[in-house]
Symmetry: C2
Subunit: 339 residues, 2 copies
């Protein structure tokens, strides 16, 4: 396990998320090394470091091995298809510390780590899968910001094979970046993000496609089309990679939405469609009126897997790990309902 602060951290991949992790950790007192396979990105990150306050500077390694040589924690911040190569490089570099990642699906990464690093039986100290739930319209290192994670959920996976001390060490690091640590499992995370992130991309694409050849409709389209199709503007390659990377969860989540839509079709055909539609619409309206969840009461919880996973399943999050790491400060969402 690592003892933050003081542990040296290596961030591999300096896009929006990796660059923001780099900036945020450097700003909170860690010695941080960054690496990216793209020389231009490395140069950009080096120039930015020179312009940061001396106490908040990071270093950019020219070689992968130099970035991880002294690290106690490696943050893998590359897209899913590039993860296997990073894992192979960690093995080649003889890395024996803690590893976390920020990829948007967690079961495939967990499987890759087990496969490539022969974890949990290798000399790797430990692996904790993570996923900061934040993003911007912009991407790349120039868009990175130290405060990108503040107040946003950051899922951290607590599997049967996860070391609790490792999980708490990474959780403590994330809380220092003001992230809301959501304890979950890879399977539960992947199911949840399929419903709230991957399927919305598919709905947006379907909606945009049905009027692609209808100039009148495109001219008359206003706010509900703008919002309902916004993420259809994402690069198809990226959306395809993310959805295909979550194969066991996306199809059922999409089936749940299409089943719900069958209810709308039935309501439209009902003898008295207005009350039928109103009844069909109400659960979604209530859920949306109560979203996003507001922070409710704070509580101290024992730092054990059962209590932490119950917290995550109830929609709660961790905001601090107590010194000694025997308890955490948690927040439960306030009772939902229209505001």
């Amino acid at each position: 396990m690592c003892e933050a602060p003081g542990v040296d951290v290596a961030v591999i991949g300096l896009g929006l998320i990796g660059g923001s992790v780099l900036r945020a950790l450097a700003g909170s007192g860690h010695t941080v090394w960054g690496f990216d396979t793209d020389p231009a990105t490395r140069a950009t990150a080096r120039t930015a470091a020179a312009q940061a306050p001396p106490a908040a500077r990071w270093r950019v390694a020219g070689e992968f091995g130099d970035a991880v040589a002294g690290a106690g924690l490696v943050v893998i911040a590359v897209p899913l298809p590039a993860v296997p190569e990073v894992l192979d490089r960690l093995v080649a570099a003889g890395y024996a510390g803690l590893v976390t990642d920020v990829t948007s699906v967690k079961e495939p990464v967990h499987a890759l780590v087990a496969d490539r690093l022969h974890w949990p039986h290798a000399r790797l100290a430990g692996f904790v899968g993570g996923h900061p739930m934040t993003g911007r319209e912009t991407s790349g290192f120039p868009a990175a910001a130290a405060d990108l994670f503040a107040g946003h959920p950051w899922a951290l996976c607590l599997e049967p094979d996860t070391g609790l001390a490792d999980w708490l060490a990474v959780a403590e690091l994330v809380t220092r970046l003001a992230g809301r640590v959501v304890p979950t499992t890879a399977a539960e995370h992947d199911r949840a993000v399929a419903a709230v992130s991957h399927v919305p991309h598919l709905l947006a694409a379907a909606l945009a496609a049905t009027v692609a050849d209808d100039p009148l409709a495109l001219t008359l389209a206003a706010g509900s089309f703008r919002d309902g199709t916004r993420v259809a503007g994402s690069p198809p390659e990226l959306t395809a990679t993310i959805c295909a990377g979550n194969p066991t969860a996306v199809a059922p989540a999409l089936a749940a939405v299409t089943a719900a839509l069958a209810g709308a079709t039935a309501a439209l055909a009902a003898p008295d469609p207005i009350p039928a539609l109103r009844a069909w619409l109400s659960p979604g309206a209530v859920a949306r009126a109560g979203w996003p969840p507001r922070p409710g009461s704070r509580l101290e919880l024992p730092a054990n897997p059962g209590a932490l996973l119950r917290l995550g399943r109830s929609g709660g999050w961790v905001i601090a790990v107590a010194p000694g790491r025997r308890t955490v400060t948690a927040v439960r969402p306030a009772a939902s309902g229209p505001r």
Copy 2:
């Protein structure tokens, strides 16, 4: 037909749209009367009028009949369920001028006008169905603004039974409010707004409903959920009324989206899902990247139904009606494609 400016206009219903029409027409030199069945709304509108510049003041009638007594044009700006009562009141008041409306579905209003006013064989001068494609999160007279329509599409229906002179008179009025007049038919309008407005409401509600009982998912939800469900927060009664008011168009538009989603399900199950999904996602991505349509070249068009309806079907709009109303200045959308 009415001869604007100079024609007295009565606006019935002083919510966001009606109030904005009132403000905008008063500001462009018309004598305008407003009426609302709610006394508190009338009082609010009266107080606001007293605070407007003297040249841009409107008057608020205490009785329906007083509002329409001297009017050459009545703008019906009430929700669809209240339209029949307004039509009956127009008959009772002996109104014989031009009528337009701002309701979000056009075939049902056209049918109501034919039924209640016995139009086109009654003494009513004419009817032109309209729909300004604008809105705000807020509603009611206090949110009304004279510039609400500037740069936004305003569909105006040109049916076989619509007088061209009446259509051009209303179009001229709308262009004075800086609206983009989109010539269309009630059927084509209703089909288009089913796809770009009504179905997005159903998709948003379905998406929100599928995670209504999943606190973990609601906590992890971020930008794509926020945008994809925004309109699910609309009052179910309102959405139900609007969708049920467009019965012939909403069900087929919803079926088109669910058919498209079946393609996503198939792509997810393909032997090589990434290229399959990418191919499935591309048409929506292209359509979204080219939206909203940018104004392209301006052109003068003869003011005849064929030319006007072709303009609307090609995604174009009218920005000015020439003096004498024999031609219009039109804008075609620029060639679409990613920007």
